[in-house]
């Protein structure tokens, strides 16, 4: 692979995005575009992180602060598309960008936990509160589905499910969900 993402992570409670990428020796990273889940693959809405590139060697390591992009915090899913000056071994004339995904679903785990604690499961004789149980099961299924979809590369599916999850947890007035503290908040994946 001519581009390797060493790290792409939401850190410091969502206030920063850490990016660490490299390409082959003697080449440089030429472009990094950033999308959130609402603008994914819409090139007119992408944020060009080219101003962060030093291009003095084959590595680029930097932090993007949410405020410098006019955001309150980084949350949910972010995508980066990276290009290099190194030609692809399979197709020297092709442009083969690499895609990186990072996602923070900690608030939704908190939402699930809140839903669980509010479900008042006393025992199996009286726990017939199906409405709260079904909500709990739905939240967990959506979380699982998002993680599996990202693993398998079904990003639209992951985004759709995260939007549903956002709505469900919003309905539940998950007041403390967005305040989950995390120094390392997300997982990342390169495709």
């Amino acid at each position: 692979m001519s581009i390797l993402i060493n790290n792409f992570e939401i850190i410091n409670n969502g206030s920063d995005l850490a990016i660490d990428v490299e390409t082959g020796l003697g080449y440089t990273i030429t472009s990094i575009l950033l999308w959130d889940m609402f603008s994914f693959k819409d090139y007119t809405l992408s944020t060009n992180l080219g101003y962060k590139l030093e291009q003095i060697n084959n590595k680029e390591v930097f932090i993007v602060n949410a405020i410098e992009l006019g955001l309150l915090k980084f949350e949910d899913i972010y995508f980066i598309e990276i290009e290099t000056s190194q030609p692809s071994p399979d197709c020297p004339t092709c442009l083969m960008p690499a895609l990186g995904i990072t996602y923070n679903i900690l608030p939704y785990y908190q939402c699930m936990l809140n839903s669980l604690l509010a479900s008042e499961i006393n025992d199996c004789i009286t726990c017939n509160d199906l409405a709260s149980k079904n909500l709990l099961v739905t939240i967990n299924l959506l979380i699982d589905s998002i993680e599996k979809s990202i693993d398998l590369g079904f990003y639209s599916q992951a985004i759709d499910n995260l939007k549903k999850l956002k709505k469900l947890c919003g309905l539940e007035k998950c007041t403390n969900c967005l305040s989950v503290e995390c120094s390392s908040c997300s997982k990342f994946k390169q495709t």
């Binding site: 785990y109 004789i125 709990l136």
Partner: protein, 214 residues
């Protein structure tokens, strides 16, 4: 209660009745409950977010309650039938038979009968139904120190679950002084738990104990 020749049969039947009733209420664990059991298990295993002590305790309580009624995933094997006139009672096998992990915890309570000796409690705890309704807390909280409000006069009991015969515990009072000598400590290999029964009776009030697994 003292069991003697005149009342032993009634007491035996009464305890069978309890077990029978317990078996009756052990309803089936439907798929939703099984799913929720798994969610709780994942959360307690630290899959996702850092839990507070309160959240851990609530989840452990839920897990225990659902688990305890998990008749369909832990089918009670019926052993020796007891026939005493009518109706017919069946002794449920209380041995755990499924692979769902239990979370180690320490049960605590006070025996109201001040004549209770360690051996009495030792026999009672073979029946998990005896102590499963008692209060409990995590090992972590007992290590920090737990204040318990006792409302009777009698022996105080701790039961540390999921232990090995070789496990060593240190019990400390609120002055941080080791008080192991004040307790009879025995290991019960039927339920893999360590039992602590105070040698003296304790009266009403708050008492702080630390129980540390070495």
């Amino acid at each position: 209660m003292i069991i003697n020749e005149t009342n032993n049969q009634a007491i035996t039947i009464s305890s069978l009745n309890k077990i029978y009733n317990q078996a009756k209420i052990n309803g089936k664990l439907d798929s939703v409950n099984l799913y929720i059991l798994n969610i709780i298990f994942k959360l307690l295993n630290g899959c996702c977010i850092t839990l507070t002590n309160y959240e851990k305790q609530r989840l452990m309580e839920m897990y225990r309650k659902i688990y305890f009624h998990s008749n369909t995933i832990c089918k009670n094997a019926f052993v020796e039938p007891y026939q005493y006139l009518k109706p017919k009672f069946f002794q449920a096998d209380l041995e755990d038979c499924n692979s769902f992990n239990k979370f180690p915890k320490i049960y605590y309570w006070q025996e109201e009968d001040y004549n209770t000796i360690s051996n009495d409690v030792f026999q009672l705890i073979d029946d998990t139904g005896y102590f499963i309704t008692k209060s409990f807390d995590s090992y972590e909280n007992f290590e920090i120190g737990k204040t318990i409000n006792y409302s009777n006069y009698g022996k105080i009991i701790f039961l540390a679950t999921n232990t090995l015969n070789t496990d060593v515990f240190k019990i400390k009072d609120f002055l941080n002084i080791e008080v192991n000598d004040s307790f009879t400590i025995t290991y019960n290999d039927v339920i893999n738990s360590t039992l602590f029964v105070s040698k003296n009776n304790y009266s009403y009030g708050d008492i702080n104990f630390k129980i540390i697994k070495l």
